[in-house]
Amino acid sequence: METFLSLLLLFLTAAVINNFVLINFVGICPFLGVSKKLSSAFGMGLAVTFVMTIAGFLSWTFTYYILRPDAPGTVWLFNAFGVEGVAPNLSILSYLVYIFVIAASVQFVEMYVKKFFPPLYKAFGVFLPLITTNCAILFACLEIMKRLQDPANLWGLTEAMVYSVGGGLGFTIAITIMAGIREELELNDIPKPFRGVGIALLTACILAMAFMGFSGVNAGLSKWLGL
């Protein structure tokens, strides 16, 4: 029960309290670029969640077994090749591996969706390949890497998965709210210099203020739940 509650708290923290877009400022480009229509914004959010889950799984696996200092796979590899006098640490390759993992999972998702869900593929359109350069996904990978550096408080695969799904849903929540507001804004008479990105940023400012209301909720909740 305690594990379940702490996972739930982690999920809420990733999705709402430390929202990826509005508190951590990652994934701003699609947040501003693809939030003009509600349906496409929701599709983008789902696609990002999907890719983030896969990339989170892969990056945890690679980091845990190969990339972190003294990882079992690296130790085995160094022993197999008889390397001595060097600490088994391949973390210098982390960024290259992550970007490769993200690009590969985007490709994989694209092929899978194209083959098995053609209507969904049409709905995603150009957004799927764009996800490769979405910083939200790399941010999730980096966070998982950070949590695997500290041996006292290691994240297991479950925590990593919960964190990436929560982060993806947080992105979906933020971009969907934003698109809903922007659809209404279309009808308003906005001063000329603010048209386009300017008013979108001011809207995001008010949304971020609303999300600031959640700050500290995680500490209070964990105290209340006795974790």
Partner: protein
């Protein structure tokens, strides 16, 4: 290739007419995240410029070899290599700054400015315009970041580059400016201001 801009044009365009922050609206994540103080903004812009110039050099030299359908992958892997170098350099020589910027240094890999410059300029032009383009865009990015950071640091903590500028009884720090909403607010207002100046210029 004669219709491509020259090196000097590329350099100048990056600073004002195609400013990455205000005109192209690219690379918004670091623009919003690291502008709580001016030093952070300068370090971020310097790291981005380093990666941008190096990636432009590599891509420009390799432009005849890269296969078109693999180009994005080659761009990102080149960028990731240089970002690793920049990240380890900062960790070794500026540990405090590295801790402050945190994940936003590795996030330079997916900064759309760099990929778009590789695509638009470096994969089409020779070495000299590509380098000039890298420096021009980097300088434009620096100006964009600094304009936001100056406003946020001044209003949010009353300092500039770490020195106290505004203090005393009449001055109250607006804490919201260094929190996330302040970033959106400052960028939104500055963008409207520069749009307004641009439209005034066109009228005259």
């Amino acid at each position: 290739m004669n219709d491509q801009p020259t090196a000097l044009e590329r350099f100048w365009r990056g600073i004002i007419p195609e400013n990455p922050t205000y005109r192209q609206v690219l690379g918004m994540c670091p623009t919003l995240a690291v502008t709580t103080n001016v030093q952070g903004a300068i370090t971020m812009a310097a790291a981005t410029t380093f990666v941008l110039v190096c990636a432009n050099i590599m891509v420009s030299l390799l432009r005849k070899i890269i296969k078109p359908h693999l180009r994005i992958l080659v761009f990102t892997l080149t960028i990731a290599t240089f970002v690793t170098i920049a990240d380890y350099f900062l960790q070794a020589f500026m540990p405090e700054m590295s801790a402050q910027l945190g994940p936003y240094i590795p996030l330079i890999i997916v900064n759309c400015i760099i990929i778009s410059r590789c695509e638009v300029c470096a994969s089409k032009q020779s070495l000299v315009p590509a380098i000039a383009d890298g420096f021009g865009q980097g300088l434009g990015f620096l100006l964009g970041l600094c304009s936001i950071a100056v406003v946020r640091e001044l209003l949010g903590s009353g300092t500039l580059m770490g020195y106290t500028v505004l203090s005393g009884d009449f001055w109250v720090n607006c804490g919201i400016m260094i929190l996330p909403p302040g970033a959106f607010l400052t960028l939104g207002c500055l963008m409207a201001f520069f749009n307004w100046i641009g439209s005034k210029k066109q009228e005259n």
